[in-house]
Symmetry: C3
Subunit: 260 residues, 3 copies
């Protein structure tokens, strides 16, 4: 028997929004410690890693480890039916072939349940080595989303150049050349709006815009995003989910960039 | 000479929105007692019945009974030109082949008139027998609209099951099974948000989602919707139009449901 | 060296929005007195004349007259990247083949620059004779936009009839006939909402809706629009850009109208 309950279904909707562009279906690994999901995106270029801690749920019970394979488009249909302040409960019997989502309104006068068939999906667990990164940039999540969206207009790829002073995002194509520079924030009045840089050595790496834009679907989950970069190593784009866990995206830099 | 005046054109816009999905054209029967419209929808499945009482208008004059056949798409074009707080006057001469809509702004510095050709349409008056219904459910109109919209994602039809405790709406299809239960409201602080049930015997009836969704276009007219149901008899979905009248939709239950 | 700076990029965005529907590309003539643009629209029917005075900029320097030929779609891509309260600076070297747009956030922690290739475009300067107009109508810009949009539903052209009492806009077609009358405002409490008419003789002229609708893209620039009309002479639709200049559109009346 698996049962996990969140007082606000809004967070679960945002979690799903952050992965459903990249993944058509996915396995949610449920254990005593929480729910984990790790998968390559549909085109097998980037990697998504989601972690929701059991203590972040308002109620959590997992008698046996379960791997729940779900169609994310169908899951999205179901979550669309919840109001953001509905309580959501996810339930599955051991060895069952369905999962149930239950929504309760705050006054408990509306109760809904949605049953969805589970899928048999192949597990592919990739080890992600711990790395010391050359540069770690923390910045407002909405600012990162805006920059990715803006630069996509000019080219297919974005070059991120990070020094002690700041971080520069560049793109170019037929319609022109674009450079956006963010300085490290001097005074941090609003922590959410800060740009902070931890640098061991400067880096300059190029990434495909398309994937960065997909990663920014997680923006509503978190005020800040953290970009960890080292030469020849996948970029990590991390969004903390307050009190619940995190979602991380991994994307290898483009190699052509080194040749130019 | 026919002349009917409403201080706020917003209501007339909402009335038109509630029928123009179902009907391409319609006859507005104008008499001393008010304006009535009764018509089968374009696919001849459901029935629309609209009643606007003469005393609900700010000015009303109807010297002779008139049947005004109107193209509802053209009428919608005209009403789109009114601001919601414009005064609207509908005018037609006896035996005329046009109808005129006049809009006046509150400060009377903008006056518009729109003349539209009338159509010759066949009258088809259907008697609707008065029925005692097994179940009459009153609920917030926006909640009913939301439920119809949500369940449409899962299947083509919705089963409504009504008991003394509450009403359950269900739908199922390839992507899963959905059940939404509303309990009768215990305390009625906000009358508009109440769910009330008058039951003589429980019913379980199945209806086509598509038509229910079209009926909910009337939602902006009324805080509450009233569903009247009996076995083997058309469902009545009624929206009161405050101080002016009502719109009712009739839809026969699906027969296959009884076989399953 | 050319350099022009505006504290708020919002104005420049609105200026571009007011011309990019009519023009694919255009020459911005930069001189000591400011920036001017004059061009026939893509279909060579109407004329656009934009004037931004040098003293309206927060910083302005133009060592030599420059004619900057720009692709407006690419310029729009760039301006989309600015926040409305970013400071914008336009820069070009003498004899350069590129122009640079620089955006700075208010806290100066985000700086962006966009370089765009200039185009070689043919100049075509049309002399616009000064005219005394028979009627000059000033009215709220949003009201004019609304009227053009509404009447477009009924026909391809709008007849504007102006007398001392007011101005009437008419259109007709298969779905009906529409007349919108605005009276000259009696008391002018809100200057922006006033309708004022200076008339030497009444006029009645007919114009193509399509172009009027394109002109109203300038509505966000100005609270009021000014229509200047004389028989057989192009209509002038003018929007003042507060503290910076103006945009004027010229459109010849339809000749068929005189025949009817």
């Amino acid at each position: 028997m698996f049962e996990a309950r969140l007082v606000s279904s809004g967070t679960l909707k945002k979690v799903l929004d952050s992965i459903k562009d990249l993944l058509n279906e996915a396995i949610f690994d449920c254990s005593d410690s929480g729910i984990q999901l790790q998968a390559m995106d549909n085109s097998h270029v980037s990697l998504v890693s989601l972690n929701l801690r059991s203590d972040g749920f308002d109620k959590y019970r997992c008698d046996r480890n379960l791997s729940l394979g779900m169609n994310l488009a169908n899951m999205a249909k179901i979550l669309k039916c919840a109001n953001n302040n509905d309580t959501v409960t996810i339930k599955a019997q051991d060895n069952a072939d369905t999962v149930t989502f239950m929504f309760e309104s705050q006054n408990q006068e509306k109760m809904s349940d949605y049953e969805m068939k589970l899928m048999n999906l192949d597990q592919e667990h990739l080890g992600i080595p711990e790395t010391d990164y050359a540069c770690v940039v923390r910045m407002p999540a909405h600012e990162f989303a805006r920059i990715c969206r803006d630069l996509t207009q000019f080219g297919d790829s974005v070059t991120v150049m990070c020094t002690k002073e700041g971080v520069r995002f560049s793109s170019s194509g037929d319609s022109g050349t674009a450079n956006i520079k963010l300085s490290q924030t001097s005074s941090v009045d609003k922590e959410d709006e800060a740009v902070t840089i931890e640098m061991q050595e400067p880096v300059s790496l190029t990434f495909a815009c398309q994937y960065l834009n997909s990663f920014t679907k997680a923006t509503p989950l978190s005020a800040q995003v953290c970009l960890s970069m080292s030469p020849d190593v996948p970029l990590v784009v991390e969004y903390q989910i307050p009190d619940l866990g995190y979602i991380r995206y991994y994307l290898a830099p483009k190699i052509e960039d080194d040749d130019n």
